[in-house]
């Protein structure tokens, strides 16, 4: 029955995502706009926001590792406080020393 079908939450597989990224490259537009890639915003060294599908891999007061669709995003520093945590949004304040991408 058509009316009983649940609408699935929009999510792309890895292969589809790569294709969309290629299209974005061809059209010369932001990948974030089409593919929904991870968007990281750092303000000085005290605030960091991550937008996109994320889950926490490791969390201590000096390091934070986030699992994204295509890589692992790591942050190192001290006095970390996650002021807001959602499935697709994270806001971190503290003293940020380094960020790393592990593919």
């Amino acid at each position: 029955m058509a009316h009983k079908r649940k609408r699935k939450k929009y999510s792309m597989g890895k292969a589809t995502s790569q294709k969309v990224e290629k299209v974005a490259d061809m059209l010369d537009i932001s990948k974030d706009f089409l593919a929904g890639s991870l968007k990281v915003t750092i303000i000085a060294n005290c605030e960091l926001t991550v937008e996109g599908e994320i889950s926490i891999l490791e969390y201590t007061d000096t390091s934070l590792k986030l699992n994204t669709r295509s890589f692992i995003f790591g942050i190192k520093g001290s006095d970390f406080e996650i002021t807001q945590l959602d499935t697709d949004y994270l806001r971190l304040v503290g003293n940020i020393l380094a960020t790393e991408y592990m593919v």
Partner: protein, 414 residues
């Protein structure tokens, strides 16, 4: 900011998260829409975060599944604060009474400021305000500036503008005075113009009426300057309202004296302060006796209680500061006394006739050991014309009578 305010209003619990799978627990919570705010790690021991109270039991079930232990560290926010206050009934009653009093006090006018320095005019304005029911302590909503403005402007024609600006518990009364229009003489009022002072006519203009005088003539007080009776060939005399300007050079003599020894009040340095409290417009003195000094100068300082600059409350403290003084005779310098007297005389002359109308001035100084007398003789330009009505036993001829009764029959005859 709004998020934190909402957080405070709905209340929150600060939870302690202990265990090895803290990350898995956090991921599960976010997937299940249990949001933990202000998450921080305290070394390797435990993590803590803020959680809405309604999600606590659900989070505890997830924690059990993830092999994590959670416990409440502290409760915060408005609902928990109110729960604590529930037992302190007297405190709540006092708070409510205070809130009611503040609401009541802020809903009234306590200070009425009249923007006028002249004491006589201030009294007139105060009386006008009282007539319209404006007084200290009246409810703010009963003060209707537009209605009062109309009422006061109708009864006081000298005001060109009247307004009451209400700022909190403070009403500011603004008044402006208009210039009266010059009185227009009725041409039917038959009158002469006579002189009010002795003088030499400087500028003499006759607009209506007849006169034999000319500029340069000397006139005495009460002398007829312009006559309202104009000779006419047809009726012998025509009666009109005399009009004209008579600016004459007049002499003015002003004299003032000043003693050369005056009593000066020298402060001894002894000061006594006394206090009184004003509550709802009533003074309560906190002292019983007047200051013990024989001679003193007093200063009153008032400190009002106010919430903001405009929300003034009806409570104030008056400080009466009495400084002892000793009257000491002081000899003035003759030069200083003479200069002060000359300035004073010139100022009073300028006030009465205007600076531009003073043609010449001369001072005469008389000195004696006790006092100094200065006399100012000045020649001024003044309008010495004064209207004086002419009284008749019978109704006189007027220009309108001549045209109607005399000229028309002759024209008919022709």
């Amino acid at each position: 900011m709004l998020k934190y305010l909402f957080h405070f209003l709905t209340g929150y619990v600060i939870i302690k998260i202990e265990g090895t799978n803290v990350e898995d627990f956090l991921n599960l919570c976010t997937r299940e829409k249990i949001y933990i705010h202000r998450l921080s790690h305290h070394g390797k021991a435990y993590a803590s975060g803020e959680l809405h109270p309604s999600y606590y039991h659900k989070a505890k079930l997830f924690a059990r599944d993830m092999d994590v232990k959670i416990s409440v560290l502290r409760r915060g926010g408005l609902p928990f604060a109110l729960l604590k206050l529930k037992k302190r009934k007297a405190f709540i009653a006092g708070f409510l009474v205070m809130m009611f009093l503040m609401f009541w006090l802020c809903g009234r006018i306590w200070v009425i400021d009249i923007e006028e320095t002249n004491p006589n005019r201030r009294n007139v304005i105060a009386a006008a305000l009282e007539e319209n029911g404006v007084k200290s302590g009246m409810p703010r909503h009963r003060l209707k500036p537009f209605e009062i403005q109309q009422s006061v402007m109708a009864s006081h024609k000298e005001f060109s503008w009247f307004w009451i600006e209400v700022k909190g518990t403070h009403a500011v009364v603004q008044v402006r005075y208009g210039k009266k229009p010059p009185e227009v003489a009725d041409p039917q009022d038959i009158s002469n113009i006579i002189s009010t002072k002795n003088g030499i006519l400087h500028r003499f203009i006759v607009r209506s009426g007849s006169s034999s005088l000319k500029e340069g003539d000397y006139v005495t007080e009460g002398q007829l300057l312009i006559s309202g009776v104009v000779p006419n060939e047809l009726v012998g005399a025509m009666y009109v309202h005399a009009e004209g300007d008579a600016i004459a050079k007049t002499d003015r003599v002003l004299t003032e004296s000043m003693p050369l020894t005056v009593s000066e009040r020298v402060k001894t340095g002894n000061v006594t302060k006394k206090y009184s409290v004003n509550i709802l417009g009533k003074d309560f003195n906190l002292f019983f006796k007047a200051p013990k000094y024989k001679h003193y100068d007093g200063i009153i300082k008032e400190k009002r209680l106010h919430l903001t600059r405009d929300y003034i409350l009806p409570f104030s403290v008056k400080i009466y500061e009495y400084s002892e003084v000793k009257p000491t005779p002081k000899k003035l310098k003759e030069q200083d006394a003479e200069r002060d007297l000359k300035n004073s005389l010139l100022n009073s002359l300028y006030d009465s006739v205007g600076k531009k109308n003073v043609v010449s001035s001369q001072f005469t100084v008389e000195k004696s050991p006790e006092k100094i007398i200065v006399t100012l003789k000045a020649e001024c330009l003044e309008n010495i014309a004064k209207q004086v009505p002419i009284s008749f036993e019978e109704k006189p001829f007027t220009p309108s009578d001549i045209s109607k009764d005399i000229l028309l029959p002759e024209e008919k005859g022709n």
